[in-house]
Symmetry: D2
Subunit: 263 residues, 4 copies
């Protein structure tokens, strides 16, 4: 008997790309809230969701991960990854939820954990300014005036760039937020008659637990989304920028809410 | 309405990680046939397959891909990738078929096309000696005495190394071969009560068309599979090496045979 | 006693990043001849060179390398690399020579061998369409109508893109050519008073031997050089495109002509 | 006139791989002190240095860099890199100094700044556990019991692995330390008669300024150096492990002490 939470399934079940949940995460994040054209934003939503506002947020996160029994962070090639997440402000049955049309990671384990949750993950390179505990011209302070830069490149081209300058602490998490986001879980069929009848096609809602957030710094931001031949993300370019944020977040994932089967 | 063969699904349907089939491929391959312990090989098979022999083959392939309407090979970052495939000799309902327990690629589009077919793809770095059309100390000949080396590294560690020395042409393709391979298509559930009840869990059989193979060179080979903390592949280490091969192959994929639902 | 042609120098001399010459190379190349503004081109030349024409060439090459005694191509991670070279048409003492203002590779051994010769190498990712020996929608033919695409990305941004369509064979190598190119060999000082007095600053001329060139295909080309914050290459953007080429080349390097000390 | 602190030298001088010093750095480091065989260690020293003890230290550092006028940390692809440094305990004219036989970075700008100082830099992938400001199973604490793991891979193979468990704060920096290290600055000749007469071959001493060090945590450590075909580092494998450390460090480099010309 072969076993494993994902492929590859093997005799000992120790070779799966992703082990059984729970999955534990901690990350340092930069976020930018901005507005886009409402009609365009609405056109990116799946059946079952409506647009609640023109407000979007893009997150650039440097994560470290561990499984329930593991200490993957001690072999960081298995544990560390960087991610860029774009979220739209939607509503499901009248309740505000985020929806993710685009997300990029730089590691296969994170990509697979994402696909399982409904994150439409692809590979891309995310870079994020890091603060340090010493004063230096080579690092910003996590405090008033601290400047941070982020970037995402995919298929060899710069796609997103952002810069933020911290001004003050805030109690408000950026919005839309990925907690409780509604995603589109999807897995196609290759059998010829079924290319338009995916094996999995459902609206689901993230269900994290043990969420912790650090003090949140907020400030001015700039954001650029560049033309790119392989993604319609540039259609969601900012019409105005609201604010930038820096914070750390920790959470655990081992469950998902199924909302609606779209098959 | 959003659309796309895979996520991300978008208004124009032009942002999917993978477009609709057909998918066209051409590759240069090095292969090594070898034997493993039969009981161990049998332990890697899914329900529905039996071991037909102790013979395995590992393939190292440098691919280029294009979609039906596209010319992805003109933007090679989207088209080129290198892959290592391990195959066991199995049988399904008495007919000999290959089965793939392990496979690594270095690009997300190839990884997703693979998962859709049932290939248990993960990321890894494959290197393959390249022949050139000029005589040089820096390249082997595709002919008697030509030496080729291959390697796969994953998670920062060398996992497989092979070397072959060509001796003669042959009409026989290495065995087991990936044409008509039976794979385990699988997509997990994250809903808490269903971690052991995957959404997709089925035996499928590859169905390529328009397969072309170049003249095949065959010769001596060496193969090493190294200890590695994250994969049970080393259990399938060679007990003896049979032969090495070099050839090119082209094929098109747009269909799949569903064999048995294992849910 | 420690030894080695380059650092690191060690007891056995087997750890140097680059071993003693001779160094053997073979590569597949795409080239595009184009014209630039003459005054701008002239401004990129070092002391001792004059501009001979407005004609430039950019080469995209997929190389394989071996040392005199080694078989590095059997462990391709040590041997294979891809490179983009920009050449200007200069003259030295009245004789036409190429001069290289910019060049990118994707591997450290190739970067160091380059710096030693005077190539101003930096890291960047080069992609080049590959032809195969089988007919496929996923590959071009090396013949009339065959289309090839190339690209260079550096610091996460696409910098150069080219496409060529082969039309006919030719006996002429693209011009300017890297054979006999004059380069600026340079190594700075870090001692405070000497930041403007480099330890090495000389004009040198490449001296390859055993040069072989395959049949050369020529045809139409397009070339784009994109804005990029970290390089003045965009100043050398094409005012017109002349032609595109595809060919293979092999050569050996173990010597260099010192021309003029510029210290 | 072309200009630039390093190649490529250009009309505006804005394209150099490395700009003029000063160069500002800040990093998070894990270090392991260990002992090696004294005779073997001594055999790795250049002319002019003697071994002062069998004690070595290996450092794994996640750096961020900025130039004097720049804010490279806002475009982190240009600024961030990870490095592994091996140091021996030597003495120069009777004074204890560190000497570096091996060092790996993952970025070209850091590689060139290193070569200019005499660091024998090559490319390799370094991974280091990161602490976070939130309590999580996915991260260690910077405090008693906090566990950190590091690794270096080069040419596709794992070369060094270390793990440390923090126990207590200390006032002592690990030894040997890179402050004031003596290095071998070296640049070869390619002219045929001069392959053994390098253009630059001198003992130099690092001269950092504005050095800041965070509180230092110390504890138990394990260290493994694996067989590797391309480096003699395994000869410097630990005979015993002394201790592990975690700390942050900031410094500025704009000068170098020339000690002895070895040409």
């Amino acid at each position: 008997m072969i076993k494993g939470y994902t492929l590859p399934r093997t005799p000992l079940g120790k070779s799966s790309l992703v082990p059984n949940p729970p999955w534990h995460y901690v990350g340092n994040a930069i976020a930018v809230e901005y507005k886009v054209n409402e009609d365009i934003a609405a056109s990116f939503l799946p059946e079952g969701l409506e647009l609640s506002s023109a407000q979007c947020a893009v997150y650039f996160i440097e994560w470290q991960y561990a499984s329930e029994t593991g200490e993957e962070y001690l072999d960081p090639v298995c544990s560390q990854y960087r991610e860029t997440i774009v979220l739209l402000s939607a509503s499901y049955n009248g309740s505000p939820v985020a929806y993710c049309p685009f997300i990029w990671v730089d590691q296969d384990k994170a990509l697979m954990r994402g696909l399982i949750q409904g994150w439409p993950k692809q590979l891309g390179e995310t870079w994020i300014t890091r603060p340090y505990d010493l004063s230096s011209k080579a690092a910003p302070v996590v405090g008033e005036g601290g400047k941070f830069g982020t970037a995402l490149s995919t298929n060899g081209r710069r796609l997103i760039e952002a810069k933020i300058t911290l001004e003050e602490k805030t109690n408000s998490f950026p919005s839309p937020t990925f907690a409780g986001a509604v995603l589109l879980r999807h897995f196609p069929e290759l059998v010829k008659s079924k290319h338009d009848k995916p094996a999995v096609h459902e609206l689901v809602q993230l269900k994290s637990r043990d969420v912790k957030v650090s003090p949140i710094w907020k400030g001015q931001a700039s954001l650029n989304i560049f033309d790119h031949p392989y993604t319609e993300l540039p259609a969601l370019s900012p019409t105005s920028i609201i604010a930038g944020y820096r914070f750390s977040v920790a959470l655990t994932v081992d469950d998902l809410y199924p909302l609606r089967d779209l098959k």
